[in-house]
Amino acid sequence: MFFTKLRRVVRTGFFNFWRNGTVSLASVLVMMVTLVVIGMISFSSAILDTSLAELKNKIDINVTFVTTAPEEEILRIKQTLESLPEVFLVTYQTREEALAAFKDRHQNDPSILAALDELGENPLGAVLNIKARDPSQYASVANFLESDNTLSGSGVTIVDRINYFQNKVAIDKLTSIIAAADRLGFALTMFLAIISMLIAFNTIRLTIYIAKDEISVMRLVGASTTYIQGPFVVVGIIYGLFAGLLTLLLFLPITYWLSKVTANFFVGFNVFSYYLNHFLEIAFIILVSGTLIGALSSILAIRKYLKV
């Protein structure tokens, strides 16, 4: 009997969905708005996470040596640095390479190049570029370089300058801005999600309100609560699934378009490929949210009319 009842409830739900075409369409569209907002939450957090990671990746320390620093001293420091657990990568740039890079950077500025020629000799020191495993470890790397480790055999430091101390403030600020934007974005989308969920709930409540007289008739012919409620819950679930599928389809053109815009903005992040790579995960979130919102709205809304 249970399966007979279940089959009848599901069948009635499908019929009701199909026969109330206009109401169903409106409800599905309203539910889509909710699901698009929920989808946006996962996209925006992914964008911010990636840009934060990208930014962290951009942080490094450049140690510029005095022009008279002997190369073997520099290589010794490089080796010591590489032995530190915090250090991920150390790249060595000779004085000549530094000069070539400098010229390359200023090839459109003849006055600077002329001034360089005027000097006659290479004014640039060799550079060690250091990447740490984690941005928070730069402080200890910088402290290491500040200490006696960089003294040459004659007791004079061969380090000209370490740019960490100049960039530190900017790096910290940017990190905190991104973190704040992340939190604000999350709060805003949550707010929007709650509002749109309430709208979806209200829409479903209206569709059930329309049927309230019929519900009382069903009560009077002796239909049980589950038997009256069942088809409405089925319709709610169908709303959710339909809206979910349409939302997933809609995200294809949206993310494709967005990826062109955001590619310039957030270097290295492509929303479209993120969507395709995480499709199953996002589809799961969207479809489950749709189903739950649809079913719960129906159950909550119909309770009021079941009291007869």
Partner: protein, 226 residues
């Protein structure tokens, strides 16, 4: 079979719908309840179906006080009562077939029984040709006949007809009354409320007259006085 024991109903706005009403209905009886609007006819039926609770007194159906029944028992009780309303109250989203099938499904009948009984009961009310139509495609008389078929299909012990002819023309009114009569002849208790003097006079059955919540007359083979 049905017994109203000193039943009163006062609505929250202090209006008295029924006052100290006592009467009983025997099995296989055809009873008409008459009276002007606001006399308490519909309240009486609502109290019987446990749609409303009495302010005082008890309503019994076969020794059971219907207002002490649990939710499940109320559902089972209501399946033994067929309802016919003035405004038909068909389920607008369902076809004629589905409207009747729904009542059977609610009573837990099998698919085979439903497929067999629905066409049969529609034959009884002479509506076989409209089996796949929606209520909006039917005339008033046809709708009321669907409602009667729905009330009949579970073979109820009691049929309640609340002003069933209120929205019908004389021809359809006559048809509906003839069907109710036939149902009663086959052994089902019928409770009919109506304003229609012609119906009461032609029936020649028991009449209970209500006025301002009180029973003012109870005749075994009554005529309509108002």
């Amino acid at each position: 079979m049905i017994f109203f024991d000193r039943v009163s109903k006062v609505y929250p706005d202090e209006s008295i719908a029924l006052e100290d009403v006592t009467f009983s209905i025997e099995p296989k009886e055809f009873i008409s309840i008459v009276g002007p609007s606001g006399a308490g006819k519909t309240t009486l039926l609502k109290l019987f179906l446990a749609e409303e609770r009495p302010s005082a007194g008890q309503v019994f159906y076969q020794e059971a006080d219907v207002h002490t029944l649990g939710k499940k028992e109320i559902n089972e009780f209501r399946r033994k009562v067929g309802m016919i309303f003035q405004d038909f109250r068909l389920l607008s989203g369902k076809t004629v077939y589905e409207n009747i099938a729904f009542t059977m499904e609610a009573a837990g009948r099998t698919d085979e029984e439903i497929e067999q009984d629905v066409p049969h009961v529609l034959e009884l009310v002479d509506l076989s040709s409209k089996i796949w139509n929606f209520p909006r495609e039917l005339s008033g008389g046809e709708k009321q006949r669907v409602a009667i078929a729905r009330a009949l299909v579970n073979e109820p012990d009691v049929i309640i007809a609340d002003e069933p002819t209120g929205n019908l023309d004389p021809v359809n009114t006559y048809d509906v009354v003839q069907i109710l009569r036939k149902i009663n002849d086959l052994g089902t208790t019928v409770i009919l409320t109506t304003h229609n003097k012609g119906i009461i006079d032609s029936l020649g059955k028991r009449v209970v007259a209500l006025d301002r919540g009180k029973i003012i007359r109870d005749d075994k083979a009554g005529k309509y006085f108002s």
